[in-house]
């Protein structure tokens, strides 16, 4: 399983892997917001965490449709499904999600404190947003895996995956943003929304791969 994790990370950093695509998209989204909203620093600081979360959400969805499609096209997916007796398919999916998160989404989390400067966030808010992104974005990868598995046979399934995945990603977005706000807005407690966000990630870590494994099993042709 470590071999699969390392292979997928290697693939995401090699040519055509697209590890940087997400970060550049994220940067582009965040960089244009101040121009669109105008130079009102207080307003930027107020909407900052939400914009960072939305940017990260969309950037995380970018490469998702290739999660299984690339493996299906070159035949690797067949062998992974056949190895189901040795490595439970849901666990294989889980490892692929972790690798996708490390390769494509972790760079977004790392870049977010820097991009928080664009949004005039103070250090506490920037730290809180980065922390909630680190905890919440794995859920996006796990939810996305289920969508990617359903759309694996469709040649241009990217948009479909995003549409399938977005409704399920909304709770993650809501609690991620509210936890980030709670860290700076004084009366709101930080911990409850943060713990719900953690719970969402753990919940989808189980449900997402299981659903994806089921979808992949029935997508064979």
């Amino acid at each position: 399983m470590l071999a699969l994790y390392l292979r997928d990370i290697r693939l995401s950093t090699r040519a055509g892997g697209g590890a940087l695509t997400g970060v550049i998209f994220f940067l582009a989204v965040i960089a244009v917001v101040p121009f669109g909203v105008g130079p009102d620093l207080a307003l930027l600081a107020r909407i900052g965490p939400a914009i960072l979360w939305i940017g990260a959400l969309l950037a995380a969805l970018l490469g998702l449709d290739r999660l299984f499609q690339a493996d299906r096209e070159d035949g690797s997916l067949d062998l992974m499904l056949m190895a189901g007796a040795r490595h439970m398919t849901a666990f294989t999916v889980f490892v692929k999600c972790l690798a996708h998160w490390t390769g494509a989404v972790l760079p977004l989390v790392v870049a977010s404190p820097l991009l928080a400067l664009f949004m005039n966030l103070d250090p506490v808010a920037a730290g809180a947003t980065t922390l909630t992104l680190a905890v919440g974005t794995p859920a996006l990868a796990f939810i996305g895996a289920a969508g990617a598995a359903v759309a694996v046979a469709l040649p241009r399934g990217g948009v479909l995956v995003s549409v399938l995945v977005l409704p399920l990603a909304i709770p993650v977005l809501i609690f991620g943003v509210s936890a980030s706000y709670a860290a700076v807005a004084e009366p709101d407690p930080f911990l409850p929304p943060f713990l719900i966000l953690t719970a969402l990630t753990l919940f989808f870590a189980v449900v997402g791969p299981a659903a994806a494994a089921l979808a992949l099993r029935w997508a064979g042709d």
């Binding site: 399983m1 470590l2 071999a3 699969l4 390392l6 292979r7 290697r10 693939l11 090699r14 040519a15 055509g16 892997g17 096209e73 070159d74 035949g75 690797s76 067949d78 062998l79 992974m80 499904l81 056949m82 190895a83 189901g84 007796a85 040795r86 490595h87 064979g220 042709d221």
Partner: protein
């Protein structure tokens, strides 16, 4: 160990492709599947591998013990695709499959040597020619052990010398007590039974 298929039927998109295929192969036996395009050779192999649900009947392994509970677990499947990543080197690809599939058999270098690719393991898989890619995929059968080989047009794109090399590898696998089911248009130099699938066979 025996590979047994009983009354297998397969369908594609709801259309029956073949039905009533039964055979039993013991250790060291090979089955060659021939027939025109569209006769269902690939579908039969995918049904055997458990990648497609059988419309009727079942395939099973008898006497496989705990190691090889079903056909999917006991079989290597070499399909039309080579299951290799073009961005990784040949050695990285094979080392991954060796780890992932388990039951390590040959070393990666050794397997590459056996398919005549000893000196290009460091190249990205994408740089290889069609025949070399096929040989690298064949090396995958060697790096990790499976008693059953399910081969779909294994020699597509291979030159004469590589074909001979591959038929020697298959011979060695059979001598070890392996089982081979191969769909092909080209003679593979395999002794053993032949299953001829006619178009629209019932």
């Amino acid at each position: 160990m025996r590979l047994i298929a009983e009354g297998l039927a397969g369908e594609r998109g709801g259309e029956p492709v073949f039905s009533g295929v039964s055979f039993a192969l013991g250790a060291g036996e090979a089955l060659t599947i021939t027939g025109p395009n569209g006769a269902g050779k690939s579908t039969l192999l995918r049904v055997l591998a458990g990648l497609l649900p059988a419309a009727a009947g079942a395939a099973r392994i008898e006497g496989g013990g705990a190691d090889w509970p079903d056909v999917a677990a006991a079989a290597h499947y070499l399909g039309h695709q080579n299951a290799m990543k073009t961005a990784l080197t040949v050695t990285e690809n094979l080392a991954f499959w060796r780890d992932f599939l388990g039951e390590p058999h040959c070393e990666v270098d050794e397997a590459l040597e056996m398919v005549g690719l000893g000196d290009i393991g460091h190249l990205p898989f994408g740089y290889l020619s069609t025949g070399q890619r096929r040989r690298a995929a064949i090396a995958r059968l060697l790096v990790s052990y499976r008693p059953v080989w399910l081969l779909d047009e294994p020699t597509a794109g291979l030159d004469k010398a590589s074909e001979a090399q591959f038929s020697a590898l298959m011979g060695a696998h059979l001598e070890d007590g392996g089982i081979i089911v191969a769909a092909t248009h080209l003679p593979l130099g395999l002794a053993g039974a032949e299953l001829r699938m006619a178009e629209g066979a019932r």
